[in-house]
Assembly symmetry: C2
C-alpha cells in the first residue's frame, strides 16, 4: 500500500498544468478579493479549457419530476440471456451487480423473474383475500392494509435458480449472469401474522397458500410457522411503491427464503392443514439428487458470496498498485459473520472488511484493499454466517448433491484475473 495510484496525474505535466494553474488562479483571487468577488469567476475562465459544463447553465429543477440516471450510465441496466428461455414473459433478467456498491439495490435495477409477464395492476381495484381455515374470511383493499401497524426491514431476495448454470462448470462470463438473480431492498409493509389474526386462524391450520394476480397466478405453499415468524405483506420498496415487475401493489416478503415464494401481485392467502403441492414446489423448485430422489421444500437460501469487482464485466483497468476488491455476501440464516477472500484459488485466505450495516437476512458488502503487483490472480470469496454455515466449494456441493440440480448453488465462485487486468469465469479443482 505504499505505492501511489499510477493513474494519478502528479506526473502528467499537461494535465497538471491545465488544472492546477487555473484553479490556483481562482484561489488567489478568492483570498485577495473575497468581499468584492467570489473566486468562481477567475477559476472558471481557466477550467473551461476542458470543462464545458462549467460554462453553461444546466437543466433546472423538475426537468425530470422523477429523476433518471446520467446518460453516461446507460450501460448500467438489467440484462437477460436470450437463449435461456422460450419467451420473455416467462423469463429472467439480471441485476448488474458489477456496477453497484453498498448493500441497497436501486429499484430500477432489481432483477426480474416472471412466469406470465408483469401484471399491470390498478391498485384501487386490487384485493387481498384471506380465507380457508379461518374464523372470518376477509377481503382487504389497499387502504385497508395500510391501517395495520407497519414494519421496515432490509432483506435480500434471491431466486433459487441463481448460479444454477454453474453446477456443470463455469458457464457465464460475468457476475451479473452468474449471481445477478439477487437484490437487496428496504421493505415497508404489515405483518402477515396481523392479517391472519384479524381473520382468526383455526387450530388445525398448518400451511398457507399464497397466490399472485399475474397471468401465471403464481402459487406456493408456506408453513404457518414462517408466516407467524417474520413474513410481511409489503407495499413499498426503498421508500416508494413497489415497482410493477416486483409485484405492485402488493408482494409477500418471506425473509431468507427462495425468491419464488415471495409472491408478487399478492391477491390470495388460503389457510390449510397441508401443503398444496403446486407446480412450483413439485415439478420446479425441487432438487433432483444423483440417486434419483428429489429434495423438496428447500426454502432457506444458504450462505453465499461473490466478488463483484474485479469480475469479468469489471476488469482492472488501472494497472498495478492499490486496488479494491469488493463483493456481496448473504445468508437466509441471518447475519454474515465473516467473509474471507483468496487471491490464489483457495490456498490462502484473508479476512475481508465488512462495511455498512450488518442486518439479518440482508446483503453484506465486503472489501479487501490490496496492492496488486500485476501477477495473475484466482479470486474467490467465502462467506460464513452467524449460524456457523460456511460457503462450500462447487465440488463439495456436487459431491453432496450430484449434478442434476438447478437450484441452491451457493458454491464458491472463482474469477481468473490476468496480467492485463481482464477477468474470466473459471473453475479450480
Amino acid at each position: 500500500m505504499t505505492e501511489k495510484p499510477e493513474a494519478k496525474q502528479t506526473l502528467e505535466p499537461t494535465s497538471r498544468r491545465r488544472f492546477l494553474s487555473g484553479a490556483v488562479g481562482g484561489a488567489a483571487a478568492a483570498a485577495g478579493l473575497a468581499a468584492a468577488r467570489p473566486a468562481v469567476a477567475e477559476g472558471e475562465s481557466v477550467i473551461t479549457e476542458v470543462q464545458d459544463w462549467n460554462r453553461y447553465l444546466g437543466d433546472g429543477v423538475v426537468s425530470r419530476p422523477y429523476g433518471t440516471p446520467s446518460q453516461y450510465e446507460a450501460n448500467v441496466v438489467r440484462r437477460d440471456v436470450e437463449w435461456l428461455t422460450a419467451s420473455r414473459q416467462s423469463s429472467v433478467s439480471f441485476t448488474p451487480l458489477h456496477e453497484l456498491d453498498g448493500i441497497i439495490t436501486p429499484n430500477g435495477l432489481c432483477f426480474e423473474r416472471h412466469h406470465g409477464g408483469t401484471a399491470e395492476i390498478e391498485p384501487s381495484q386490487h384485493r387481498l383475500m384471506v380465507h380457508g381455515l379461518v374464523d372470518t374470511p376477509l377481503v382487504f383493499t389497499m387502504p385497508d392494509l395500510m391501517r395495520f401497524p407497519r414494519e421496515n426491514h432490509v432483506y435480500f431476495l434471491e431466486c433459487a435458480a441463481n448460479s444454477g448454470m454453474e453446477w456443470r462448470g463455469a458457464q457465464l462470463n460475468g457476475c451479473q449472469y452468474t449471481h445477478g438473480m439477487v437484490h437487496c431492498v428496504a421493505y415497508t409493509g404489515v405483518r402477515l401474522k396481523d392479517l391472519l389474526a384479524e381473520a382468526g386462524i383455526k387450530t388445525n391450520a398448518k400451511w398457507l397458500l399464497a397466490e399472485g394476480a399475474d397471468a401465471a397466478a403464481m402459487t406456493r405453499s408456506i408453513p404457518l410457522e414462517k408466516a407467524l415468524d417474520d413474513c410481511l405483506v409489503a407495499f413499498k420498496m426503498n421508500g416508494e411503491a413497489l415497482r410493477p415487475e416486483q409485484g405492485y401493489p402488493l408482494r409477500l416478503v418471506v425473509p431468507g427464503w427462495e425468491g419464488n415464494m415471495w409472491i408478487k401481485w399478492l391477491r390470495r392467502i388460503e389457510v390449510g392443514d397441508q401443503p398444496w403441492q403446486q407446480r412450483e414446489e413439485t415439478s420446479k423448485y425441487t432438487d433432483l439428487l444423483a440417486n434419483g430422489k428429489a429434495r423438496r421444500f428447500t426454502w432457506v437460501m444458504d450462505v453465499k458470496s461473490v466478488i463483484t469487482s474485479p469480475s469479468p464485466q469489471a476488469p482492472i483497468r488501472h494497472g498495478r498498485g492499490r486496488a479494491v476488491i469488493t463483493g456481496l455476501a448473504w445468508s437466509g440464516n441471518g447475519r454474515i459473520k465473516r467473509v474471507d477472500v483468496s487471491l490464489d484459488g483457495g490456498r490462502n485466505w484473508t479476512t475481508a472488511r465488512i462495511d455498512g450495516p450488518s442486518l439479518s437476512k440482508a446483503m453484506h458488502r465486503f472489501y479487501l484493499d490490496i496492492d496488486w503487483d500485476g501477477s495473475e490472480l484466482l479470486l474467490q470469496s467465502r462467506a460464513i454466517d452467524e449460524a456457523g454455515f460456511v460457503q462450500p466449494t462447487k465440488n463439495e456441493l456436487r459431491a453432496a448433491r450430484g449434478e442434476n440440480s438447478i437450484y441452491h448453488n451457493n458454491g464458491i465462485q472463482t474469477w481468473y484475473v490476468k496480467a492485463d487486468g481482464t477477468v474470466e469465469n473459471v473453475e479450480v479443482s
Copy 2:
C-alpha cells in the same frame, strides 16, 4: 384498536361474493386434484370478473432495462413552487415525503437545489484537485478515487432553508413543501481524510474550500476538523452512481451539516488557514437575528421531525377507526432517541414507535397507531436526539432568533385534521 377497519369488505356482499366464491372454488379444485392440475385455472376464471390483468400475459423482462414506477404512481414526483425563485436553474424542488415510507429516499425523488442548473458531466473528463497548504498538490481522476478504501453510510441531507417559509406562520399546505428539502440516502465513497493524507496537509492548515464544477461553481469553507472526522467523497447513492442533479459523478458528503456544504460536481478542494468568506456563507446561509447581527457558520442541522401522513397532501380517507400516524425525524447531532406525538396541539404527548435501523445522522421513521374517533386533531411531532436536544416550538425559535431568519427552522409543525379527514397547515399559539 378493537374496531375493525371500516373499508374492509366483510360486510359488502357483492365484492365478497365476487372474490370469495371464485377463489374458494379454486382452492377446492387444488385440494382434490393437486397432482392433476393446479388450483390456478379454476380460481382464475372467476377472478377475471374484475381483474383484467389476470387474463393476459404482461410485459416480459427487460421491457424496461432500467425500471420505472407504475403508471398509477405518476403523482409521486418532485415538485417546485414556481413563484419561489426567478428561474428554475437557481431553484429548488421538493421531495414528496407524504408519499414515502421507511427511511430511504429513492434517487428519482431526492429534492434538488441548484444554483446554476444541473451540470451534465462526462465522468472520464472529470477531475478532483487537492491543493493549497499541502505537500503535494494532486489531481485525481474518477478511477483514481475508486482505488482508495471505501465506506458506506446512510445520511440525511437537509437544505438549511428547509421550512424557511414557516418562520412567519403557516405558509404552504403540504409536508412536501414545508419539509421536502430533505432526503436520506445510502452513500458509497472514500474518506476525505485519506485524500488529504495522500496530498499531505501542512501544519498550519485549518480550513478547506470545496468547489463544484457547475456553472455557479458552488463554494463553501469547511473546517479541517470536520473533514478529518466523517466527510466522504462519494460516487454512489443507494447503490448506483450519483444522479446528475445530486452531483454526478462526485459529491462531498458532510454528515449532519447544511446541505449547501455537500458540494455537488466536486472538482476542487483547497487547503487553507482561514475561511474564504464566500457568498454562500456570508450573504447567504447566515441567520439575521432581531438585533441586526447575524449568526454565521451555523453548520449543524438541528433535531427536527415532521408527520408525513396524515398531512395536507395525505388526508385520512378511510373514516373512523384504526389509523396510522407516521413521520420522519433526524438530527445532525447523531441518532434520534425519542419521538413524541401529540393529537391535541402539544398539550398531551405519546411516545411514538421508531421502526427500522436507527443510524447516526440518518432519517428515523416513526409510527403511532391510533383508533381515530373522527374528532378533530392538532397533530404534532417532537423529536429528541441522543445529545439531548429537544425540537422547539416555532414560537420558542422566534423568541430566540427573531423573525428575520430563512435558515435553520426546526420548529414543531402542526397539522389540523378535520372531521372529514382533510388536513391543513396551521399554527397553534
